[in-house]
Amino acid sequence: MVVIQALVDGILIGGVYAVVSIGLTLVFGVMGIVNFAQAEFLMLGMFVGYLAWAWLGLDPLIGSVIAFAVVFALGCVVQHTLIRRVLRAPPVAQIFLTVGLLIVIENAALLGFGSQFRSVTTPYQTSALRLGDLFISVPYLAAFLMSVVSGLALWLFMNRSWYGRAMRATAQDGMAASLMGIDADRMRRIAFGLGVGLTAFGGAVILPYFTVHPTVGAQFVVLMFTVVVLGGLGSVAGAIVGGQAVGIIQSLSAMAFPVQLQNLVLFLVFITVLALRPQGLVGGAR
């Protein structure tokens, strides 16, 4: 029973980890850029969701759509003004730029939103579904379902729409894509916007149980890298598998080890997977 409870919890939280990490892998897949500032967009999404709740009275689950839209637009601008300029630069310069971006976003948020921890109050924040001895947290379930929906939407977009296919084409072969009449610059802009927008969306859907403050990104950054590397850098399907893996490892390892060592277990799995399968658990298939 305890194991089932831990599994269910792991799957629910894993869905959220997946959706916040998909953007990171998408950006890498399309542009070959590892965006160290990705988690800062999660923070921005949380703030947008929070403000939508505080000013407009919108539930964060609805606010998440606004968070997506706002951060999507911001991502397009960031891609156009900053990231685009280092696409051909050495990887070290790319890392440097995104770390600079991380510092800027974090502190801009500190200036703009203040240092306060902010949290929304929802009617379901302390609700849980009860199935026998099994508790299913409603905020977790809601976040999970929203993640599934957004994951599906992304999948449909990437596989069924012209722009999604064009984006994958750009990722796989930029030159050939432009021979198809695809504006690679534009696709990268959309991909970056989409990537950070999805992360922001994920940030907003966890608001019912998670607090936002300007440095909240730091809590997620290593986790996000773990998720995408476990699944395979650049693979959207991998991020989903990776998210689930991380959620379940965290949840199950807490049963055998002190919770304090949760991340240690995670990192050991992470390093082992990297050493044995650098392409990730589902590497290869994009």
Binding site: Q125, Y209, F210, H213
Partner: protein
């Protein structure tokens, strides 16, 4: 939303500089302090090192607000009278939540700004790193960090205005046992969970130690990583632990997550937080009605001195948090030490701090109504308080001599 810019820096000084000149004229007439007045033509520089950015920024900003409030009051009241009305000039530096930076900016304040003392730096790790610099430069450091290490290293220039973490941890358990007893329950099985920071671990150690002495069984004892993204495993463990009360030590985010998850799983046992995130306004804001009845230990509380802390609430829209209050106390005590010793000299201030009982100004807001440091620099009068969320406010409910309201035991 941020009114800080209205009452800081230059504006803080402008009205009082005039006052200082007037008083300075009077001082010349008094030969025995004329030399001092001459030496103290300008304001007295007091260093403030706080985490204004990074993970602890919120507490750093609150602390600064407390210090600014106290400084303003002192300057409005005519500055430091023993120095001919010299005003306090705060030299603020951001320690960014990194100990190395805390030490470096401390060094800067000492050598570039000739500060007579430093206040800060909220987090224990920052204060300890900072103290390594102040100790070697013989500059007094007044802090409200509560790690035991602060005053256990034999340093001569450090002053801890609050009770240490192990004392807080002990009180957290004994006070709770008292409250339970009053409600007709014997506390036998408790759970502790804490973030693995200096603050969380030392507080947990205090609880653990006391439990052993008083024969209370700890049925769950879990540290968890700072910045935990999912507390469910903790709550699952708690559910299986059959505890009568739970003692979590954490900042706000984990605190909210813990309470929410407990409520989801219908775990109704009393929660006794370990200060940190449990006693700030955002806790109530985040949880709404679910904050009701949550207890916490606190090194200080705004309702012990409403006449002093009301202005803070008026200015910022929320009650004066304990870190703001204690930092105001730090400054107030420092100024009293300067008044007593009659000179703005670090060594003289240090000696005065060690030997004097301070019962004026903000010191009245502390337990015992005063501050008295022993030779290690610990404020011997400070006692931990038990506070509880009742209605919209955080009220002191223990020990009984300080209690403003009766505690509610929900078990």
């Amino acid at each position: 939303m941020d009114k800080r810019s209205d009452h800081r820096g230059p504006r803080l000084l402008r009205p009082t500089r005039r006052a200082a000149l007037q008083l300075g004229g009077a001082a010349v007439a008094m030969p025995f302090i004329a030399r001092l007045a001459y030496a103290q033509k300008g304001p007295v520089n007091v260093g403030v090192v706080l985490p204004l950015s990074g993970a602890n920024a919120q507490f750093g900003v609150n602390s600064l607000r407390g210090i600014e409030l106290a400084a303003e009051q002192i300057n409005k009241a005519g500055g430091i009278k023993a120095l001919g009305g010299a005003p306090i000039n705060l030299v603020v530096a951001d320690s960014t939540s990194t100990p190395t930076t805390a030490a470096t900016v401390g060094q800067r304040l000492i050598t570039q700004n000739s500060v007579v003392a430093i206040l800060g730096a909220y987090a224990s790790s920052l204060s300890i790193a900072l103290s390594e610099v102040t100790e070697r430069r013989d500059i007094p450091l007044l802090t409200m960090s509560f790690s035991d290490q602060i005053t256990s290293r034999g340093f001569k220039n450090i002053f801890q205005v609050v009770a240490k973490a192990s004392t807080l941890g002990r009180a957290q358990l004994t006070e709770t046992a008292e409250i339970a007893k009053d409600a007709g329950q014997t506390l036998q099985r408790v759970a502790i969970m804490y973030e693995d920071t200096a603050y969380g671990t030392s507080q947990a150690a205090g609880i653990r130690e006391t439990a052993k002495q008083t024969g209370i069984t700890i049925v769950m004892d879990e540290a968890y990583p700072l910045g935990i993204t999912d507390v469910t495993p903790l709550i699952n463990k708690l559910r299986g632990a059959d505890a009568q009360a739970v003692f979590p030590a954490s900042y706000l985010n984990d605190g909210l997550q813990i309470i929410r998850s407990m409520r989801q799983q219908r775990i109704g046992i009393p929660v006794i937080g370990g200060a940190g995130g449990y006693i700030i306004p955002d806790f109530k804001q985040g949880l709404g009605e679910f904050a009701e009845g949550v207890l916490s230990i606190a090194p200080g509380s705004h309702d012990l001195a409403p006449e002093l802390t009301a202005e803070f609430r008026q200015r910022h829209g929320y009650f004066m948090t304990h870190e703001a209050l204690e930092h105001a106390v730090c400054l107030s005590v420092l100024v009293q030490a300067i008044e007593t010793s009659g000179k703005a000299d670090p060594a003289a201030i240090r000696d005065t701090l060690h030997t004097t009982r301070f019962d004026q100004g903000w010191a009245k807001a502390m337990t015992g109504g005063a501050v008295k440091f022993d030779q290690t620099g610990l404020n011997t009068l400070s006692e931990p308080l038990m506070v509880q969320w009742q209605g919209d406010d955080l009220v002191t409910v223990g020990p009984s001599k300080y209690a403003k309201k009766k505690p509610i035991w929900t078990a």
